[in-house]
Symmetry: C2
Subunit: 362 residues, 2 copies
């Protein structure tokens, strides 16, 4: 029996109702049903409806299930870019989206600021020719985020044809996006949705679809089974092209039901309160300090702190009390810690973590 | 509580130990562990070792985890074909691999025989220029298969540089392949491995890897995160590029352990005995008859029969006795039935199905 509480930035603690939904799934034999059955269509529709409600997603948006957010990067470039994309980069994941565009043969450009910094809007010049603008709303590696009000100003900064993509992999449902001000938002279920990994979700509007259709019509290769037209042809009948992670879609729908009965406003309030508690501790700690200097750019969901005690030692000491946090990313592995503050983490659990960190490390 | 036994051709009945492994996974919080942790590396290595043992896979082969077998089609074309592939087609899935190659801009050719027929080797001329030859060992839509001894003769029929790909999506571990005689074999876990869907497995040798490297070196775009070099760089350290379906890989390793302690020979013997029982019934039934005429080309794992009673009616009557079979594929939806004979289906369950079909339909 593993009693550890995972404050790792994803995979992370499962939403508390997941084990009971998994029991139901086993009893109902969800793992055996056909992905072409009415029962699956209902599961698919239920998950989509739950997302629409929680995120207040306009009807003009489609919801697509892929295998990971990493896959969304590739499909976005394939389906929405003929030649040129533009990327805000301030950490490892935003840089990988940029690298993905290069690997797929695109002329990708980036506006880069140091790891752990946010962006100053006035410094950013979006090339008029960029077909896709990649905004990293929450950089899981560095803990820097872009406030929603800044995201909302990119439409005026970008060319009229630019599609605005928002990486909210480890922040949704916290940020209350104005979906009319952007064109696509994507996330992974193993972060804030507290689910086992193996599913990426791509929310996108009709401009993204029209672009893919235009590219395909002009002879541009936009992929095969996971091209946008192929994905949409099945999504319209609440199905997927391939046999998908049926269990993952089922669990997502169930957890969304639980989240909706709690209410997104309550989830956001709790997330904010827990983040305030964590940052207040980190600011006064003798061992830790928030890695992102500008408070406006500090992520409420993936908190990163510099540490004078190696991260592995912090985790070693926490393990004795059944707690785990994330180490720093890449070269910051030992010099930073990362703490996930997801809806699955109760206020009591976060309070206990803060108390234990204070006791052990000051 | 759903007590139905699923003889559907995948997703299908779960291997009987899956519920208990899922309980352990929940207790051990496998859904929360990092995909960069030592614990995950052990899970990955355990699944790979289990596959190597069960399939008697030579060391010259690599094992890669993708999201689905459908994804393998796309990655195979991207990484192993510059211009031209050649496909044996006798049903819907083999045709989709062919279509995938076309969608990705390749000059794909096919040797096609009618739905439900197998192939006569002497009729097949493999173009000398084909870089990849797609062999459909088991066509899940039609129930036709290619005997292993015929698979083994394609090396001499194809050009020296051709890579031989074998679709064993719904047959492995039944066919005892000579892996030296082919270059890649792939399957899905929701068929004969009795697992929830959401994982495709790609077995491939060094010739496939060398081809991908050569294509990349010449400036050909071979994809991004799931290009072969990218996949292999992580697989070498028992990791994946993206956060994968961790739970799926865990369950696969556990079921492989169970299958290995039973032994592949015993699994194959049982599969053969159950298939013989089913075909013997179908041949003498008043309602059903095997759809594949040539007994040598009849799949032992996905049995397809013509039916004079509509498939939906057959299933409706079986449902009263907690049994489900597959309907026919596509336009054969009502005129054919499909019966899965996977390792998860016990001899007793198959006997009970035959007895019930005989009682209800003669």
């Amino acid at each position: 029996m593993n009693n550890k509480i995972y404050f790792t930035p994803g995979p992370s603690e499962l939403y508390p109702t997941v084990p009971q939904h998994m029991q139901t799934a086993l009893q109902e034999k969800i793992g055996s049903i056909s992905h072409r059955s009415k029962q699956f269509q209902e599961i698919f529709a239920h998950a989509v409806a739950g997302l629409r409600q929680l995120l207040q997603l306009p009807d003009t948006y489609e919801v697509l299930f892929l295998a990971s957010a990493t896959e969304v990067w590739e499909r976005a470039i394939q389906n929405n870019v003929r030649q040129e994309s533009f990327h805000l980069v301030n950490g490892s994941f935003s840089d990988r989206f940029f690298e993905t565009a290069l690997e797929l043969g695109m002329k990708a450009q980036k506006h880069e600021v140091p790891f752990g910094e946010g962006f100053r809007l006035q410094d950013i010049a979006v090339p008029e020719t960029a077909e896709l603008v990649a905004l990293i709303q929450n950089e899981t590696s560095s803990g820097a985020c872009i406030p929603v009000e800044d995201i909302n100003r990119f439409r005026e900064k970008a060319g009229a044809d630019a599609l605005l993509y928002v990486d909210a992999v480890s922040s949704l449902p916290y940020p209350a996006f104005d979906f009319e001000k952007v064109d696509a938002v994507y996330f992974s279920v193993q972060k804030c949705f507290g689910l086992p990994a193996g599913l990426g979700v791509w929310l996108l509007n009709k401009r993204c679809i029209a672009r893919a259709e235009a590219l395909a019509e002009s002879g541009h290769v936009i992929g095969s089974y996971h091209s946008l037209p192929s994905l949409l042809s099945k999504a319209k009948v609440n199905q997927t092209v391939e046999t998908p992670n049926v269990l993952g879609i089922y669990l997502l729908g169930k957890v969304l039901e639980d989240m909706n009965s709690k209410g997104v406003e309550q989830i956001r309030r709790e997330t904010k309160a827990k983040a305030d508690l964590l940052y207040a501790y980190l600011e006064q700690s003798r061992t830790f300090s928030p890695a992102v200097k500008n408070p406006a750019h500090r992520s409420p969901t993936t908190l990163v702190a510099n540490t004078t005690v190696p991260a592995s030692e912090v985790n070693k000491q926490l393990a004795a009390f059944d707690m785990a946090i994330g180490s720093g990313y890449g070269k910051y592995k030992e010099s930073q810690i990362r703490i996930a503050n997801f809806p699955a983490h109760s206020p009591q659990q976060v309070e206990a973590l803060v108390a234990k960190l204070r006791e052990l490390f000051g």
